[in-house]
C-alpha cells in the first residue's frame, strides 16, 4: 500500500494496548484535553428493543492532535462522535468541550456550543446549494455575527487551494472540492475541535488523500484539534492516534498508526477471543 509522504522521523510504530483500563488510565493522564468523555453511556429504546450503543466510554482528545475513531459497524463510533459534538444527548456520564460541559446544555446552549466551539465535516450534504463556496465557508461566522480574521481566512483559502473557485456554487464543484470547502468552513472559525464523520466516504482515493492531507496539515501547522470517525484504515493512518471501539466500548488504541497496524488491529477486533485472550 502506498502511503502519502510523512515528515521524516515522524513515523513510529504504534503501541497497541490490550487492556481497556490501561487505555482509559493513559488517556486520563493527558492534560489540555480539547474534548473529553467520562463514563458515557448511551442507550436507545427500552425493554426488548433496548440497544446499548455506548457502555461507559471514557476518552480524552488532546489539543492539537488528530484522532481517528474506528470500529466495525454498530460499534458506536458515530454515536460517540455525536455525543461529543453535542448533537446527541448521553444517557449517563459527562461530555465536555474545552472548559464547557456539554451534558445538560439546552438547545440554545448546544447551538451556541456548535457555533462557537465545534466545526463539522460530514460525509455528504455538507454545503448549502444556494450559497457560493466562499459564502459556505463563512456561513458559521455569519450566523454567529462574527468577522473572520482576514489573515487566517487567506491562509485557509490558500491551504485548501480553492482561491479560483470561491465564487462557484457547490453544484459546480467536484466532490473533493466540495469536501475541501467543508474543511475550510470548519477551520475558518478556529473551533476548539473539528468533528469529521467519514469525510472521505464519498470520495475517490485521490480526492480523499487530498482532504486527509489537508486535515493533517491543519493539525501539524496550525495546532487544530480534529476527531475523525472512519472505517477506512488508510484514512485512519493519517491520524496521530486511533481509538478502536467495539460493542460500545473502547477496546484498543494506536499511537502514530500506519495503514497496516490499523488493519491488523481491525482484524483482531473481528475475532474478539484473540483480543481478550
Amino acid at each position: 500500500m502506498e502511503l502519502p509522504h510523512r515528515p521524516a522521523g515522524a513515523v513510529r510504530i504504534g503501541r497497541q494496548t490490550e487492556e481497556v483500563d490501561d487505555v482509559t488510565a493513559m488517556v486520563g493522564r493527558q492534560a489540555q484535553a480539547a474534548a473529553r468523555a467520562s463514563d458515557v453511556w448511551k442507550v436507545y429504546g427500552s425493554g426488548e428493543a433496548q440497544v446499548i450503543a455506548l457502555r461507559g466510554v471514557s476518552a480524552e482528545f488532546e489539543r492539537g492532535q488528530f484522532t481517528a475513531i474506528m470500529g466495525p459497524s454498530g460499534s458506536g463510533k458515530s454515536t460517540l462522535m455525536h455525543c461529543l459534538a453535542g448533537l446527541d444527548s448521553v444517557t449517563r456520564g459527562t461530555v465536555a468541550i474545552g472548559d464547557t460541559t456539554v451534558t445538560g446544555l439546552n438547545d440554545a446552549g448546544l447551538t451556541k456550543l456548535r457555533r462557537d466551539k465545534v466545526g463539522f465535516i460530514f460525509q455528504q450534504f455538507n454545503l448549502l446549494p444556494t450559497l457560493t463556496a466562499q459564502e459556505n465557508i463563512l456561513l458559521p461566522m455569519s450566523i454567529a455575527g462574527r468577522k473572520p480574521d482576514p489573515a487566517w481566512y487567506q491562509t485557509v483559502i490558500d491551504t485548501v487551494g480553492l482561491r479560483d473557485r470561491l465564487g462557484h456554487r457547490p453544484a459546480q464543484l467536484s466532490g473533493g472540492q466540495q469536501q475541501r470547502v467543508a474543511c475550510a468552513r470548519a477551520l475558518v472559525a478556529r473551533p476548539e475541535v473539528i468533528f469529521a464523520d467519514e469525510p472521505t466516504g464519498n470520495l475517490d482515493s485521490r480526492s480523499g488523500a487530498e482532504v486527509l492531507n489537508f486535515l493533517r496539515n491543519s493539525v501539524r501547522e496550525h495546532g487544530q484539534t480534529i476527531v475523525m470517525v472512519t472505517h477506512d484504515p488508510t484514512a485512519a493512518a493519517y491520524a496521530d492516534r486511533v481509538v478502536f471501539l467495539a460493542d460500545g466500548q473502547i477496546v484498543s488504541e494506536l499511537i502514530e498508526p500506519t495503514a497496516d497496524t490499523v488493519l491488523d488491529t481491525m482484524k483482531k477486533l473481528d475475532t474478539p477471543a484473540e483480543v481478550n485472550g
Binding site: 447551538t111 462557537d116 448549502l128 450566523i143
Partner: protein, 850 residues
Amino acid sequence: MIRATLKSLLARKLRLFLSGLAVVLGVMFVSGAFVLTDTLGRTFDAIFADAYEGVDVNVAAKPKIAVSEMEGEQTAAPLPAATVDKVRAVPGVATATGVVAADGARLIGSNGKAVASFGPPQLGENWTGESEQLRLREGHEPRADDEIVINQGLATAGKVKLGDRVGVLTPLEPKQDFTIVGIFGYSGGRDSIGGSNEIMFTTPTAQRLMLGEPNAFNSVTVKAAGGVTDESLRDAVAAAVGDGYVVKTGEQLSSEAAQGFKEALSFFNRILLGFAAVALLVGTFLILNTFSIIVAQRTRELALMRAVGASRRQVIGSVVLEAIAVGLIASVFGLAAGIGIGALLAWAFGNLAGGLTLAGIGVPAAAVIGAFAVGLVITVVAALLPALRASRIPPIAAMQDVATPDRPLTRITVAGALVTAVGAALLFLGLNGNAGGNTLATILGGVLFAFIGVALLTPLISRPVVSLLGAIFAWSVPGKLGRLNSGRNPRRTAITAAALMVGIALVTGVTVILDSAKGSISALAKDTIKAELVIAGSQSGPRPPSFDPAVLDKAAALPGVQLVDGEYGDMAMVNGQRTWVAASSNVAALERIFGAKAAAGDISRLGPDQMLFSSDTAKSRGVSVGSTVNVQLSRGEARSYTVSGIYQSSQFTNPVVLPPQAARDFAIPQPIQGFLQLAPGTRVADVQPQVERLLADSPEVSVADRDAFIKQQTGSLDGLLQMIQILLALAIVIAVLGIVNTLALSVLERTRELGLLRAIGLRRAQTMRMITVEAVVISVFGALLGVVVGSGLGAAVVRALKDEGINDLILPWGQIGVMLGLAAIIGVVAAVLPAIRAARINVLGAIAHE
C-alpha cells in the same frame, strides 16, 4: 401498483389535505350555488302557490307595460266594476270578487320611518273578507275610510299594534293617517306571504289611493262552483269578458310568478359559479404545485418502480390515481360544505327578504354531479403535467443522487408569452366590442388566458424580482438564506405566487374599475349638477323612494331658492320599444341644473303634447324634431307626442323627457328626486332645515347637499366593491394555503440542509426567521404580480368604458399598499407552521447518513 399508490397517499395526508382544501372550497361554491337556487326556487313555488291558493281563475286587464319580477310589481290596468258583474254571471262561477292590489302602500313605523322592503311588494289592497288562508288575529275588518288592517309581519317590522294611529304613503296621494283596526295572518301561523307587506283598506279607499279611480279593480278573483274544472271555467270566463283581459287559472299564475323569480335567481347562481371558477383556478395552481413537488420528492421511488419493471403508463397511472383519490375525497367534503353554505345563504336571503318561510333544504342532482365532475376533473387535470414528468424519470435515477437539474425556462417562457398574447388579444376584442354577441365570454376568456400566461411567465420574472425583494431582508444571515431559498426553484415559487396573484389581481382590477367609475361620476356630477340641495332617498327594493309632489311647490316658494326640479321616471313603450322615460316638473332644469345643451329644436320648454329626446336615443330611434312619437305609459291609453327638441346625451340626461303632466300615468306618479338651485349668496345651511321640515310627511326621502348626494349615489358602488372583495378574499385564503403547502413541502425536502445549518450553529429562532423570509418574499411577489396584472386589467376595462363616461383612471394606491402589507402578513402567517416544523428538526436525524 394501486396498493403502493394508496400507501404513499396515506403517508402524505397533510400535504394532500392542504391541496385538497382548495378543491373543497371550489366544489363548495359549485354545489352551494345549486343548493341555494334549488331551495329558494322551491320556496318561491310554495309562496306563490299559497298566494294563489284561494284563486281558481283570475281576470285582469292587460297590463300596459310588461315588467319582470325583478324590476318590480306589475302595474295592473284598472278594470271597471261592471266586469266583475259580467264574470259573476258566467255559469259555473261560485263567487267573483273584485280585488284592488297594487304596490306602493308604505306604512310609517313607530320610529317615523317608512317600513322598507328589500324586494317583496308593499301591497295596498281592499279588504275582501277572511278566507281559508287569511285570518284576522286581532281586531275587526276595516269599516270606516280611515281604518286599515295590516298583516302581522308588517306590524312586527313597523313596531305598531292594534289601535295605533299610523301614517300610510300611497302612490297617488300625500301621506294620510289611519287607525289599525285589525291584524291578520296566514294559515300555518305565517305572518306574511313571502315577506310581502300588506295594508288593506275599505274598497273605496283602496280604489282612491291605489288606483285613482272609483269603482275600479285590478283583478277579479273567481271561485269555481262544485264540479267545474278551473280550465273550463277559465275558458268560459275568457269568452264572456272578451279581448283586453288576461284570464288565467290560479295554478298558471303561481307557476308563472315563480318562474319569473327563478329566472332572477339564476343570477345568484351565476355569481356563485363565477367565484367557484376563481377558487378552482387558484386550486388548480395549488394542486399542480403539490403534485409537482411530490413527484420531485419521489423521484427515486418512482425510478425504482421503473427499474423493477413498471411501465411509463403505470407511473402516470399511479400519480393520476392519487389525484383521483384526492379529488373524490375533496368533492365529498366540498359537497357537504356546499350544502351547508347553500342552506346558510338561503337562510340569510330569507331573513333579508323579510322572513321567508324556507322550503326544506334540497340537494338537487346538479349539485352532486357538479361537485364530483368539477372536483375530479380539476384535480386530475392539474395532476396530469406532474404525472407526465414522473413518467419521464429514467430508471437510472434510482441509483443516482437526487439531482434535479435546473431545466431551462425557454419553453415555458415562450408558451407564457403566447398565452398572454392570446389573452390580451381576446381582452382587446371583448373590450372594444368586436366580439360579436359573446363580449362577456370573450372578456372572461381573455382574463383567464392572461392569468395563465402570466403564471407561465412568472418563473422568468421571479428570478430578478424575488432577488430584489429578498434584498430587503438580506441584512441578516437567516434573511439572506431565506431569500436564496425562495429563488432556488423558480417554477415552484412562481406557481405559489401565481395562485396568490389571481385573487389579488381580481380584487385590484375590480377596485380600479369601481374606483374609477366612482371617481369619474363624482367628478362629473360635481362639475355638471348645479343644484346645491338634493331630495332623494336610498333605494332598498325594486321600488325607488318617492315624495309628495306638493313639496316641490312649497320648496320653490322658500326664500333663496331659485329653481326647483322634481324628477319622475318610469319604464314605458316608446314607439313600441321599452324605454326609460323621465318627466321633469321644471323642464328648464335640464339646461340650468344638468347643463344639457340643445342639439336641435328648443329644450328649454315643453308643451303638454311635446317631448324631448337625447341625441343618442334620437339617433338610434331615427326621430328628429317634428317627429310624432307614440308613447304608452304604465297607466292610461297610448298617445302621441311631437318631438320639440333634442339635447346632447351626457351622463346625467335621460333618454327621453316627457312633460310633467305625463307623470300622472307613471307607475310611481310621485317625484323620486328633487333638485334645488339656490340664489347666489344664499347659505345652504339656511335653506336645508326648511326643506327638511317640508319633508316631514315624506319619510322615505331626505334633503342633502350636493356632495352628500353624490356620495350617497356612488355609495352603492362601495357596497358592491365590498361584497366582491369579501368573496375574492376566499381566493386569497386558498392561495395562502398554497404558500403553507409549498413551504411545508420545501422544509421536508430540505431536512438535511436544515440539519446541517442547525449543526453548524443556526439557532431555532434564526431557522424560523429564514423560513418566514422565504414565505414573505413569495407572498409579496405574488401580491406585486397581482397588483400589476390587476391594475392592467382594470385600466384596460376603464379605457374601454371611456365612452360610458368613465374618463379618470383611478389607481387605489392606498388599497394597493394595504394589499402589499397584507401579503407580508400573509407570508408571516403562512410560515408559522412550516417554520416551527423546521425549527424542530432533529439535527442528528437530519444529517445522519443513510
